[in-house]
Every structure is written in structure tokens, then in C-alpha cells.
């Protein structure tokens, strides 16, 4: 397991604040999504299945999406691209009946974790130590294990 701590402690705090996590739960979960790959149906399908299966209790306070996309160099175009990604992510959630906090990210850091797949799930403990890392689609049994970590 890679060590995320030096970089992720401040990022985790910022993201948790943005997500409205008041009291730190025992475990937190990030869902990294390569949203540029969402036009690939084979990539979209496991992501959608995962999001739909999340119980309300997880969506409301235990998971956060990091929606990763590539931004153009031109600042004006970059702003437009961000609006497009926001609209797509919001519409995607609305169309498929799920909603959890998410941040958009056009930087290279999270992009690196997505070199092997379009979506990954990362688990952090209360000290921002990464304790689990899964690629979607999850193997059998992993989803239940994940829920157990988040809800107990």
C-alpha cells in the first residue's frame, strides 16, 4: 500500500470540510473517478453500479467523490470545462438517483492513481493513513467488507 500521509493529511482535512464531515468517523472513503473516461460504457457501468449500491448513510457522511478530469491550458477554456464537468456530474447523479459530496480535480496527483482504471476506492483511517485501495469493479465480497468498515 502506498503511503498517502504527507500529502493527503491537509487535502483530506480540506475535502472533509468541503464534504461537511463535522466529526471524523473511524474510516473515510474516497471514490476517485476518471470522468473523462465516462464516455466509455465499460468504465461507466461498474461506477454506476457502485454508486447506486451505496446506502444513504454512506452517501451522507462517509464517502467523497474526487472527480478527476483533464483541463485545457487556456484559462478561459479551463473554466468552461469545469462548468461542463460540474453539469455532467450533477446530471449523472440526478439521473441515477444517488448523491454524495464530491470535488472536481484537474490536477495530476489523483490522475496518477487512475492509470490502471477509471475508478478506485481509497480508505483512510482517522489519522489519514490509507488502509485499503480497491479498483472498480469490486471483486465479490469486497463491497460488503467496505460497508462494514464504513458503517461499524
Amino acid at each position: 500500500m502506498r503511503s498517502f500521509r504527507p500529502f493527503f493529511v491537509p487535502v483530506l482535512i480540506l475535502c472533509a470540510a468541503e464534504a461537511g464531515w463535522a466529526a471524523a468517523p473511524r474510516y473515510q472513503c474516497w471514490l476517485l473517478i476518471d470522468f473523462d473516461a465516462a464516455s466509455c460504457s465499460l468504465c461507466l457501468e461498474p461506477l454506476l453500479a457502485f454508486c447506486r449500491a451505496l446506502p444513504a448513510a454512506v452517501q451522507e457522511g462517509r464517502i467523497m467523490g474526487i472527480v478527476v478530469y483533464g483541463a485545457p491550458a487556456d484559462p478561459k477554456e479551463a473554466g468552461r470545462k469545469r462548468k461542463i464537468m460540474e453539469a455532467k456530474w450533477d446530471g449523472f447523479q440526478r439521473a441515477h438517483g444517488f448523491r454524495f459530496p464530491a470535488v472536481l480535480d484537474d490536477g495530476p496527483v489523483f490522475r496518477r492513481w487512475l492509470d490502471k482504471g477509471a475508478a478506485r476506492v481509497l480508505f483512510f483511517d482517522g489519522t489519514a493513513r490509507a488502509v485499503r485501495e480497491f479498483e472498480l469493479p469490486l471483486p465479490p465480497g469486497r463491497f460488503d467488507e467496505m460497508l462494514s468498515l464504513l458503517l461499524n
Binding site: S41, E45, I84, A87, K88, G91, R94, A95
Partner: protein, 323 residues
């Protein structure tokens, strides 16, 4: 009544033939697009990622939305009317909806992950799935109630276009490649004219063709330059494929004057935006640029062009102005 219809059909045929002759003779100095309608905005998210578009005889617009797993209907003024479909493999459901065609009051959908052709009526009611033995990647109207389809063939095998009636019965067809040289070499977009000729645009080869209804090659065109295809390896653990990297052409459509419009891929100055305009004899008459990159173009019976904007959130409808 029948005589009136016949007379109207004859008049339409004569007008079409005259327009096509006109297209062959005319000089085009420039082509511009005037936006007349826009469907889907950054605020309403009425469309998430459209893959196919088609227009009905009253100007109604049908949009296939891959990220919403739905077929959507808008009226001629762009007002959203209804949608149909969900994610799934049941009747009227979609797994990876990719291509849409309209013919004689019916909508035909190709789903990348489902065999056959899904059929809906003009009110988006699911009717049936027309069986087809292999996965299809292209469908286009080839006259009222007639469809031309093609799929992806294994390397080394010939590639064919099949002509079906609206019930899926095989009416004919022809091979357009004697042998598929590499995976996806037979990926094409196609358009059929009123005389039953076919225009083929190859996604991964520098090749445009016009073929007679019996498949005979009438002309072939290429933009030139390095045509060799570079391949990328994807997959792992024995399931490895070589897939082509370069996209030459992405889409083909005919306007009502008989011009062939071809959307180019990544090998021109403005990737996914440059559109070549050909006359029916295969002479390139003009090039114009879409305002934004698009995965495809569609031209309706009124001659209006549809293309993508906002990375799939928006369908733009344009009037094509030839000067």
C-alpha cells in the same frame, strides 16, 4: 389519392436528381454554419452524453444519451418532451447505446453491449429487438423503411454491408472489404443517397468510398499523407488486443443538395471539427469547421446539420450556408 402521392413522389425524385446534378456542377467558395437551435444546457443537464441524434418529419428531434441510458424526444422548438429507457438488458433498456437511425416512423438503436437492433416507435415506445447474428457498429437509413448495417469482422475475414427491411429481414448486401487487415479496420460511418448508392467513411483508414447499390466501387478518395496505422496494445493476461491509434474519419452525412459531408478525426488541422464537403462525383468542394469538436454529424431532411457541443451535454442544430 394514390395518383397524387405518385405525382408527389415523382416530383420529389426529379427535384432531388436536379439538386444532385446541381451539387456536381456548383462552385462553393465558403461554407458557414448558422445556429438555429440548441438542446441541453449546462444548467438543465437535459442531456448528459449524447451519442446519436435523428430528426422526424415534423422537425422533432430524438437524442440517444449514453450516460443517461435513455432515448429522448424534443419538439421542433427544442422543448424536452419525454424519455425512454434505463440501464439494463431488458426490453427497451440499454447497456451502451451508441448509434441511432430514424426511418419511416421508427427509431433504430445499436447498443455496443447488446446483439441486434432495438426498435422504438416515434413516441419512444419500445417495439422489438431485430435479431442479427453479429454485433453491429453502423446503421443508417437506406430508403424509407430500409436499413443498411455493418458490424465488426474478425481479422482476415471479409466485411459486409447488409440491407434489411424495417422488420429485420435481409434484403441484400455486399462486401466492402475483402479482408479485414487489423482489428477495427472495418469500422465505418455510412450514408445512402436516394438512388441507393452508399458513401463509406472509414474510421481507422484514410479511405472514403462511394459504392453502387450492388457494392461496385464508384470512387475512392483519401487525404494523403502518412496513412500507416499505428497500433496500441490494450488488455492483459492473454486478452490483449492491438487497436488502431489514428482516427481518420468519424462520420458521414448527405445534405439534400447531394453533397457528402465527412467529419474528420485526428489527422487534420482541427481534430473532430473539420468537415470535408464532396460532390457526388467525389470531388472535394470545400472544408468548413464545426464550432466545437464533435464525435459525429447528422443532416436531417430539411438540410440542417446537427453536431455536438459542451462535450456531449448539448446538441446544436445549424443551417448550412453555401456561398
Amino acid at each position: 389519392m394514390i395518383k397524387t402521392r405518385s405525382a408527389l413522389a415523382l416530383a420529389a425524385l426529379i427535384l432531388t436528381a436536379a439538386a444532385v446534378r446541381g451539387a456536381a456542377q456548383e462552385t462553393i467558395r465558403s461554407v458557414t454554419l448558422e445556429e438555429v437551435l440548441s438542446l441541453g444546457t449546462l444548467d438543465d443537464a437535459a442531456i448528459l452524453q449524447w451519442t446519436g441524434v435523428a430528426a422526424g418529419p415534423s422537425g422533432e428531434i430524438y437524442v440517444l444519451d449514453a450516460m443517461d441510458y435513455a432515448l429522448k424526444k424534443f419538439d421542433a422548438s427544442g422543448r424536452f418532451l419525454k424519455k425512454s429507457g434505463h440501464q439494463g438488458a431488458g426490453p427497451g433498456e440499454f447497456l451502451a447505446p451508441r448509434v441511432l437511425a430514424y426511418s419511416a416512423g421508427r427509431l433504430y438503436v445499436l447498443d455496443q453491449s447488446r446483439l441486434g437492433i432495438l426498435v422504438f416507435d416515434a413516441e419512444l415506445r419500445y417495439k422489438t429487438a431485430l435479431p442479427f447474428p453479429s454485433m453491429l457498429s453502423m446503421i443508417t437509413e437506406a430508403g424509407p423503411g430500409r436499413l443498411a448495417v455493418s458490424g465488426l469482422s474478425p481479422v482476415g475475414q471479409p466485411a459486409r454491408i447488409s440491407i434489411l427491411d424495417g422488420e429485420g429481414r435481409l434484403l441484400g448486401g455486399f462486401p466492402f472489404l475483402d479482408k479485414v487487415d487489423f482489428y477495427l479496420a472495418d469500422s465505418i460511418a455510412a450514408a445512402a443517397d436516394a438512388e441507393g448508392n452508399f458513401y463509406l467513411a472509414f474510421f481507422f483508414q484514410d479511405r472514403l468510398e462511394k459504392r453502387a447499390p450492388d457494392g461496385k466501387l464508384l470512387w475512392r478518395w483519401s487525404m494523403g499523407g502518412p496513412a500507416a496505422q499505428e497500433m496500441d496494445k490494450i488488455g492483459a493476461g492473454g486478452n490483449e488486443y492491438l487497436i488502431p491509434r489514428k482516427t481518420f474519419y468519424k462520420s458521414a452525412a448527405l445534405d439534400r443538395r447531394g453533397h457528402l459531408l465527412v467529419l474528420c478525426g485526428g489527422q487534420t488541422k482541427h481534430p473532430s471539427r473539420d468537415v470535408f464537403v464532396f460532390d457526388p462525383a467525389g470531388v472535394r468542394k470545400a472544408v468548413f469547421m464545426l464550432p466545437e469538436p464533435s464525435h459525429g454529424i447528422y443532416v436531417d431532411e430539411g438540410g440542417f446539420l446537427y453536431a455536438r457541443a459542451n462535450e456531449g451535454l448539448t446538441v446544436k442544430k445549424y443551417r448550412i450556408v453555401y456561398r
